[in-house]
Symmetry: C3
């Protein structure tokens, strides 16, 4: 045992703790310690890290988050401009709270792509400066996590409701990715069929079946999942100013329509992770019960996509209030869900997120789950 090293670490740790507890204060404000509000009276400001929140609800009573999307393509969430060092650190933060699964939300969106796809570059997509797919697979391997690959999203479907382009493009993408990455990395653990559908997208059954089947066929049956949204009262456009709508789907209608969809896709889709943010907090149990019942009926795993951003605020989007996340995870636990994943850790739960509320959410989450 190297005493010198330990002592140095111990020293650095103390210095770091000292500065961490003061890190939130801008430099000038450090002077606050000696400042005089009333003449002659000195004030010393210090964070008392021995203080813990006094929880009045049972702790550790929800389903733990064990997976997260990786949102590198930045459809509607601003980019954090992380390099490999930041991503490596983030995987450590994830692992520290029990996350074992990372899911790249899509491998490309319109002309921006995550890896140098010969096929997509040939169609006019832009060359990325980093092969994110390779990096994520390497980091997943390094940190002992499973990686799910999200299919390419041409953007055509969102504009037209027509999924023909998605099927056509992904034919090439799936083959290419499996050959160049899937066979190389043992962290390549599955597929995320990335088109976000709701009840209004019944034409998607055929598309999801075709894409799911190809994923499984090429990879020797690796698991696949989808993450649709419930057409609830908060299913409104991110770019709009309204936060809710009147014409939300009923639980009964939701069950009827998804019964039909699951019937058509369950052979090639192993799990369904409904997004949990489009319904109200007192509707969670009703919808979750139906989702679990349907998943059971068709032999699919029932996951929850626990959104860690807040849909109720004018700024779209910042990290969610902890109690909202807690209520959603408790409902998932009550309804016997199999796994919780989140969209997503790196912006909304990570201690190094550009949104400092995320680091606080991380701490509240750990506090609640005794981590």
């Amino acid at each position: 045992m190297n005493l010198q090293k330990n002592n140095r670490r111990d020293f650095l740790k103390k210095a770091a703790l000292a500065s961490a507890s003061m890190a939130a204060m801008p430099a000038i404000s450090m002077g606050a310690q000696n400042n005089t509000v009333q003449k002659g009276k000195s004030i010393y400001i210090e964070k008392d890290t021995s203080l813990h929140s006094k929880l009045i609800v049972p702790k550790n009573n929800g389903l733990r988050i064990t997976g997260t999307f990786l949102d590198e393509i930045s459809h509607d969430i601003p980019h954090q401009n992380w390099g490999e060092a930041e991503w490596d650190l983030d995987f450590q933060y994830m692992k520290a709270i029990g996350i074992d699964t990372v899911i790249m939300i899509r491998s490309g969106y319109k002309k921006f792509i995550t890896y140098p796809s010969q096929y997509l570059l040939g169609k006019g997509c832009f060359m990325p400066s980093v092969d994110l797919l390779d990096m994520y697979l390497r980091l997943a391997e390094k940190h002992g996590m499973k990686f799910y690959f999200g299919l390419y999203d041409s953007g055509h479907y969102w504009a037209t409701g027509d999924m023909t382009h998605e099927i056509e493009d992904n034919k090439y993408v799936i083959d290419e990715v499996w050959k160049n990455y899937g066979e190389k990395y043992k962290s390549f653990g599955g597929w995320y069929v990335s088109g976000e559908i709701s009840r209004a997208t019944k034409g998607a059954i055929g598309a999801f079946y075709a894409m799911g089947k190809q994923c499984k066929d090429v990879s020797g049956g690796l698991p696949t999942f989808i993450s649709p949204w419930i057409d609830g009262k908060k299913a409104v456009a991110a770019s709009g100013t309204t936060l809710s709508k009147e014409a939300a789907v009923s639980v009964q209608q939701h069950e009827k329509e998804w019964d039909e969809i699951f019937a058509g896709i369950h052979e090639v889709v192993d799990a369904v992770a409904f997004q949990d943010g489009h319904i109200d907090y007192d509707e969670l149990d009703a919808f979750f019960t139906v989702n679990k019942k349907l998943a059971d009926k068709y032999g699919m795993k029932c996951w929850t996509n626990a959104e860690s951003f807040d849909r109720d605020m004018p700024i779209k989007f910042l990290p969610i209030k902890f109690d909202k996340l807690r209520m959603k995870l408790e409902a998932a636990q009550r309804c016997g869900y199999d796994k919780a994943i989140t969209f997503e850790f790196s912006h909304f739960m990570s201690p190094q997120s550009a949104y400092a509320q995320a680091g606080n959410l991380y701490n509240r989450y750990k506090e609640y789950f005794n981590l």
Copy 2:
């Protein structure tokens, strides 16, 4: 005197100062110190904390902020996910600039509540994970501050213009809170009748009278206040995209309508703190003069609710530009106002706010007021 402790503190302070002045630089950027832009030329980057802004206006010429709302319910401001350690630290930051009053903006909004109210839980509200009311009262006591309790807001009034629900719910809430908290904590110093009204809400006179009276009756006459908004050109919805409107109220109309409202409520409302953000900066004196005149006429205290967020920006809402806050506090001083409170310190002025602009505002504020 413990020299060893002093030396250690001195050492840690130096280390902390060093890291604080570099804290804003991400790790890789630290290398900037040794980086070569032109080959062979080394650059050392350092914050010179001896530099101070050269103010060309008289300092300490506005009304100092001595109170702040606590916005824990998060109606339209994203949650910071603080635990008790962060709240305790924030109360220290507040006190360091002279804040002696904290006001919980509401005890609940729709189904989200701040304390485990038997009455509101019985009506379907959600159990909070922390009893914020208890925590705030404890921290106010610890730091020698007065706490004002904000009434429950069912959300019905905002949707319907009808305050019946507010009166009914708060009958129970006021009794319950006084019995369980008011009699226990000597920091419980008053009541904030939280419905935000403007001239268009004349039906509110009866409601405010009823609620104000009950607050005073149950608590042996503890002070009450309201914080209405002026129906000025910036009185637009937070969720909308417009920043101003044409049909703003005139000063004369404002005076006429508020004369009537004050006449109806002054016996049970001790102070009025108009929000200062809905009018333009060159309208401040005109409206403030009328507000003070009316308050004097009815024997009420005239406070200003100095908003510390910026209403003029597309992002709703981030911390205000210091000069705007300064102009509003100078106008309040000129017009002889009794007290300035703000909405609110923890997001928009605190050195530990997730919005780093807030910590800078704190420093500018201290600079101006010689704190």
Copy 3:
């Protein structure tokens, strides 16, 4: 050589590095180092700063940014509330990546002004607490940079399309500023004619000629430039919710209209820096080629205003994704542009920006340009 000082610096640097790599972790999360996710298993989280992103595109292949706007007036970007120490540090950060030119985007906007202008104060503008113009000129001098002065913007033009007020006000502003600042500071290096025009503003030719001529006449011919926008698909209002529009200008129409405008102003405007953010990434070369051709035809310098904020996100505005900035700078390089400036460094690229994404962008930028 002072060994003691070196040792101390070395020590502080180590301490600072330690805390910097942990600075992103809130205090409680520091405990993560010792936390147990599964009982008995300890986790140590550390940023590995030796990890570098593996770039798969040629490095240093774009035009370097050597100028930035200073956006102190805050038209639609929230204020950071910096004091002189922060501005001084920012100029150091700028210089470290090769920025030699700073441009105050406007000297005033409506009633908010940057310096105590006798003329504008007389017209009802508000007294600023700091003379920013003087501060910027001093700092530019201290750090060996050139400062460009942006003219006053009354706001009338934006509302009415009529530039009469701009010409009238700036007659006084230009004289006043040259006499009080231009003759005093050798860092005063040129003029930015600040009205942001597009093809729809042809009436602006006369106004720009008049203002440009006065700037040059009064200052012995110091350089002038403009920074218009291309009326492309992303030319939409910051306050609106849409991100693009249908009726974008064609390249041909753009060339025709700007040929006419340049013909009218080239004698008194030395450089044109089109904003690069209103067109799509695969339209860059087409528009840039025309811009360069026109600038050459009229003997003007062709700059690019490389926007470092992201126009594609619901939050308006946060720092841009690095690859987007890279593609724009590469296009400027390909098309033989003379200089790249950005709007703007301090919010969107600075390591001390309130938007932490900016510091990461700074690091990505340095990585790409081998800085």
